[in-house]
């Protein structure tokens, strides 16, 4: 398992010029673009905390979510040579990519901390909730990736849909804007049902507002995470013996 993770890490930035820098570039680029577009034009930068901080707090869980999906869902197919020649627990592949994506969340968390102390008031004490929220998000991610990577073996449509899917999902999650700016009650209810909404908003709560996570807000996330984990691991384990024949 560990060596599979190591290998995927080794392969990830192979033949790229800047290597590990690609772990920092996406959150910074997203943040910069968001600041440019929303922060200035949409006039959101009025609140107690600066827009960049609010967005960065959401990007901490989001980049982890997005990179886990992008790398995790094709992981079975992209390792077909190993899969068809060496027997090992197949789940090690998607779980391994999630493991590597933890680099992303560490980096964006460091980035946020630096920003919090330079432009904001530093980290509130509630940041101690971080591990709890992270585990909740991790469970959700594992569920989605196990399910997605297994289906992707049979229908490559999943992999092709991942970039579009994560993009749409990002717009439906209050990442580039706080939930409070959503006014239509219908859209709000819909967004609240999205498991990632609770996760992202709770990260904002604990990292900026200094409040503990709201159980009601997190309810869809908890149900979704548990449900997807059960569904994902059941489906994965019941079809994993077929992977080598299909990839």
């Amino acid at each position: 398992m560990l060596s599979l993770v190591r290998r995927q890490y080794q392969v990830r930035y192979r033949q790229s010029m800047v290597g590990l820098a690609w772990a920092i570039i996406p959150p910074i680029a997203t943040l910069a673009t968001a600041m440019l577009v929303f922060g200035n034009i949409a006039g959101l930068d009025k609140g107690k905390n600066s827009y960049s901080l609010i967005t960065m707090a959401a990007l901490v869980p989001w980049t982890f979510f997005a990179s886990s999906l992008t790398a995790g869902i094709p992981s079975i197919v992209s390792n077909s040579t190993t899969l068809t020649r060496i027997p090992f627990p197949r789940a090690a592949l998607p779980l391994g990519t999630i493991g590597i994506s933890m680099i992303d969340i560490s980096i964006s968390m460091i980035l946020f901390t630096v920003m919090a102390y330079t432009i904001g008031d530093g980290l509130p004490l509630t940041a101690m909730w971080f591990p709890v929220l992270f585990i909740l998000e991790l469970v959700l991610v594992i569920g989605v990736v196990l399910l997605g990577s297994a289906i992707n073996v049979f229908a490559r449509d999943v992999k092709l849909a991942v970039p579009l899917g994560t993009q749409l999902w990002m717009f439906l999650t209050p990442v580039l804007y706080p939930l409070s700016t959503v006014e239509s009650p219908g859209v709000r209810t819909f967004m609240l049902a999205n498991p990632m909404t609770g996760v992202v908003e709770s990260f904002r709560d604990i990292l900026i507002h200094g409040t503990a996570p709201d159980a009601q807000l997190l309810m869809p996330a908890m149900i979704g995470a548990l449900g997807l984990l059960l569904l994902g691991s059941w489906y994965f384990s019941s079809v994993e013996t077929r992977f080598a024949d299909v990839v």
């Binding site: 080794q10 392969v11 068809t84 090992f88 229908a155």
Partner: protein, 420 residues
């Protein structure tokens, strides 16, 4: 106790791409339900690569798997290696397995040779420290020292095959599954692989060996399983099964001009480039070859056409499945008939092991000029109940007569080996 056991193994594959795969998405137990309801659609485009196969081997045995392309040999290895699960039936393997199913053995093309060695080692339960000690040994065996830190994707086919074999060889497997991998390396490397496999077997290792090279199968294994269309045709002692297999192959070969199964002969010709060449002073017009009789003897008749060449040697040689030139029947230098003529030869017995041999007819000048050397598109099958020569004494039996009576002049022969 058997180290490898397969019980009623059936492996069903689907053919086709794209939407055919939808059926495989359905997880158990729903797949069985759907199979019942939509029976026809469910089983469309499927075939059994293995059908109800039961095999078992004790530890330390070396077993050959033979059969035509598509017989299920590789699938069998994959199932035993645990890479793919049988559709029905069960597999029991009691030991550390190393599988060389193809030259890639699971290497990642982007990683260097060294990284891949560590990776493969760790997948077989060897830590980095264990492997560090072995890297030199592996690079040495594979002869790729200077390429060790280059991505495997830049390796030639031969190099990755060598690296694959060398890595697997150092992982101390208890059961080794080898699929035709020796066909890739050069002769030198093949020789070292065979030597290594010999010592591996002597140390009690279990070997399962797939090859189209029947000569190699004969040397490496004591027991052979002959598969055809996913079923076991015959299983037993190597010499016996190979003999029957060779005969069946010969029968398929002579199924008329349209048959595709002359692959063995064709492949051999291809591998050596030419099947006919020579100076052309004398040309072979026609060769008639009888079937070998029960004493493994045969008769041959060569018709020739000559111009300006007075004397010639007639020759009928034999090449085995591996392409080794085994031996030849050679005439004295004979006066050739101007214009042309025919020569007959009867071979009392071909002292070869059971196997398939390819005859070569030739006419040479006494000074060694080859006028016409023709590898015939034909196979001679020798079938024996036991090997012609015991293990360790070579491939050809020397025609000889033995008697109990001491010859009166035996004492005059130089004395060589007297037991103390």
């Amino acid at each position: 106790m058997n180290i490898v056991e397969a019980n009623n193994v059936t492996k069903n594959y689907r053919v086709g791409v794209g939407r055919a795969r939808i059926r495989e998405m359905v997880p158990p137990p729903f797949d069985r339900g759907l199979a019942k309801v939509l029976n026809k659609w469910w089983y469309k485009d499927t075939f059994n690569a293995l059908e109800d196969i039961s095999l078992s081997f004790p530890a330390g045995s070396s077993v050959g798997l033979i059969g035509h392309n598509g017989a299920g040999k590789t699938t069998m290895l994959k199932v035993l290696a645990g890479v793919t699960a049988p559709t029905t039936g069960s597999i029991k393997v009691n030991g550390r397995v190393a599988a060389l199913i193809d030259a890639l053995v699971g290497f990642h093309p982007e990683l260097t040779g060294r990284e891949n060695i560590f990776f493969l080692g760790s997948m077989h339960g060897f830590g980095r420290r264990d492997m560090r000690a072995r890297v030199e040994q592996i690079a040495d065996f594979a002869q790729i020292d200077e390429m060790l830190d280059t991505p495997v994707k830049r390796f030639s086919a031969g190099m990755s095959a060598r690296l694959g074999f060398a890595t697997m060889a150092t992982l101390d497997p208890e059961i080794l599954l080898v699929d035709e991998i020796l066909a890739v390396g050069d002769a030198n490397f093949q020789q070292r692989c065979i030597q290594w496999l010999d010592s591996y077997r002597e140390d009690g290792g279990t070997l399962l060996f797939v090859s189209h090279n029947l000569g190699l199968v004969r040397n490496m294994t004591k027991h052979v399983v002959w598969l055809d269309h996913g079923k076991v045709v015959q299983e037993g002692l190597t010499s016996k099964v190979l003999g029957d297999y060779a005969r069946a192959m010969e029968r398929r070969d002579s199924d008329g001009p349209a048959n595709k199964n002359r692959w063995a002969a064709k492949k051999l010709m291809k591998s050596t480039g030419m099947n006919r060449w020579g100076a052309g002073g004398v040309r072979i017009q026609e060769v008639h070859l009888s079937e070998p009789n029960e004493r493994h003897g045969l008769t041959v008749s060569i018709r020739y056409e000559a111009s300006n060449v007075e004397r010639g040697l007639f020759c009928l040689g034999f090449i085995d499945e591996a392409g080794n030139e085994i031996g030849a029947a050679v005439s004295q230098p004979l006066v050739l008939k101007q214009g042309g003529g025919a020569m007959q030869c009867s071979i009392e017995t071909l002292g070869f092991h059971s196997g398939i041999y390819f005859p070569v007819a030739a006419i040479l000048s006494p000074d060694g000029v080859v006028h016409d050397r023709w590898r015939l598109d034909r196979a001679v099958v020798i079938e024996r109940d036991y090997d012609a020569v015991p293990d360790g004494f070579g491939a050809v039996e020397i025609a000889s007569r033995w008697s109990k009576d001491a010859s009166p002049d035996a004492s005059e022969l130089p004395r060589l080996g007297t037991a103390e």
